[in-house]
Symmetry: C2
DNA sequence: AGTTGACTTTGCCCTTAGGGTAAGGTGTTT
DNA sequence: AAACACCTTACCCTAAGGGCAAAGTCAACT
């Protein structure tokens, strides 16, 4: 039997960590002296501890590790595989987010070197008042958490396009998203993916036209929050109020764009004079 | 002037967050009613708030953002650039770490599908007792934090190789690392990078030979911690004790390896019978 | 047997970036 | 004046431990 200090040195984990793992039931000492409370570990526990470290290096949380260890008892390598696959997808997404940040930061640096302040694009956001025409849209409405927006857009728009292709419907515009949640909530937003088409089928509905505050963004989607802010500011300043759900129209295909400025997005706020 | 709720809606940030940012001095309301304590924001603060959000999306901590905002006052785009560049490098490192995890996990899944348990490599770690010969090594000794090990190895070994090349010294072996810190400390370890050579010059020293417990790892460096654990276990079990700093010899060049099993690393624990 | 020093125990406070909730005060509308 | 929306502070919570302190325990040395 090894004292906590000895076991700690062998597996390269601090005693504090071992005590914490004992507390949360991740790995308990083989034996505890009931009089003194001293923890004693068996060398057979080394393997488990090293396994925990390995899972930690894969960015599993201790809670996830605990779950894996519990199902590990019944030697089911399938569940372990699926846990690994889930984590791979999760890490892949974070990786994508990091790469996106890197691109954005590099872009900012290029601009700064040209003497363009980072937030200068804000002054170029123009708001105009327009009258929109009603549209017939093929739609899918979904609760979307902010995590799966990137994957979600791909998924739902490709489903809609598939439907248009298989049912030989007539495209009348580019894809759009309508945000029905009154306020932005990272946990989940009532989001409608839509594409205007000519035919009226079961999954279409009418998107009424009317007075709208409109802004056009030529740049990365990450600047959309600023566009929304500017629109809200304008609506407030000019004495209007938002009367229906705002929506975005993706005029260009982001996959075709070589520089962020090639991406064109229109944002509409249906408004009425207060 | 906007109440906290209005400002919150315009910039898409919760009131809770705005109060928190006020508390830590990141962005304070333009005006506070001294009687009621009500916070009032000016629309001119929108730009700052959106800038904060942008920096947050680049994974800056609020502390870092605060520092950037403070130096932003004197319009120095240089410092902002250098902060962005630092963050780019930081994110790049995390990205590398993620990619490494992804590779490892994929490897584990492949093994699992072949019926090989993840931790089975532990049973293949063999320890032998050997007598090493003294060596003459060209060395550089450095405190290394666990974050910059990856970059550090490249850096210091290439410096040593450069010296060997320019001074026309004679290589007698592959690179090695000697760990002088008695215990592993993530904050910083006293680490010696060394390459055995023939000539005795100012930056060489004698690495004494002697009795060693030795293990050979054929696999990824992330399994090294397990090798250390196994060595410590063996030393304990067989009644030896560690009497000098342990060291690793990198027999193969990891950049030449196509599969992790091609990477060969020897780990030595200089020991004496207790 | 006593002492010293190394080791271990529990307990408490600290970290990030806020979220949730409660009790009570304020502003606006009916 | 009441109702209701909005605002305030205050307190507790998160993950994965680190740091420190007071007190108990273990092994070795005198």
């Amino acid at each position: 039997m090894l004292s906590i200090g000895e076991f700690s040195k062998i597996c390269g984990v601090s005693t504090k960590t071992l005590r914490y793992y004992d507390e949360i039931g991740l790995i308990n000492p083989d034996e505890i002296n009931p009089e003194t409370g001293y923890r004693y570990y068996s060398i057979r526990q080394l393997k488990k501890m090293l396994f925990i470290n390995r899972l930690k290096s894969y960015h599993f949380s201790l809670e996830e590790i605990k779950a894996i260890l519990e199902l590990e008892d019944d030697q089911s390598s399938e569940k372990l595989c699926s846990a690994l696959n889930r984590k791979i997808r999760e890490i892949q997404e974070k990786l994508n987010a990091f790469e996106y940040s890197l691109k954005q930061m590099s872009n900012d640096i290029l601009n700064l070197e040209k003497g363009i302040p980072i937030m200068s694009y804000l002054d170029n956001i123009e708001v105009q008042l327009v009258e929109t025409q009603p549209m017939n849209i093929l739609y899918m409405r979904q609760m979307m958490s902010s995590d799966d927006y990137v994957a979600g857009y791909e998924k739902y728009f490709s489903r809609l396009y598939e439907k248009i292709a298989t049912e030989e419907l007539t495209l009348l515009g580019t894809p759009m998203t309508i945000y029905h949640s009154p306020e932005y909530n990272p946990a989940g937003n009532d989001t409608e993916f839509a594409i205007p088409i000519e035919e009226t089928v079961k999954e279409t509905r009418d998107l009424p036209g009317g007075l709208c505050a409109k802004s056009v963004l030529k740049g990365s989607y990450s600047e959309l929050t600023s566009v929304y802010a500017k629109l809200r500011e304008w609506v407030e300043n000019e004495g209007y109020e938002l009367v229906k759900s705002p929506y975005e129209v993706y005029v260009t295909d982001p996959n075709q764009a070589t520089v962020p400025e090639d991406i064109v997005t229109e944002v509409y706020f249906p408004v009425e004079k207060k």
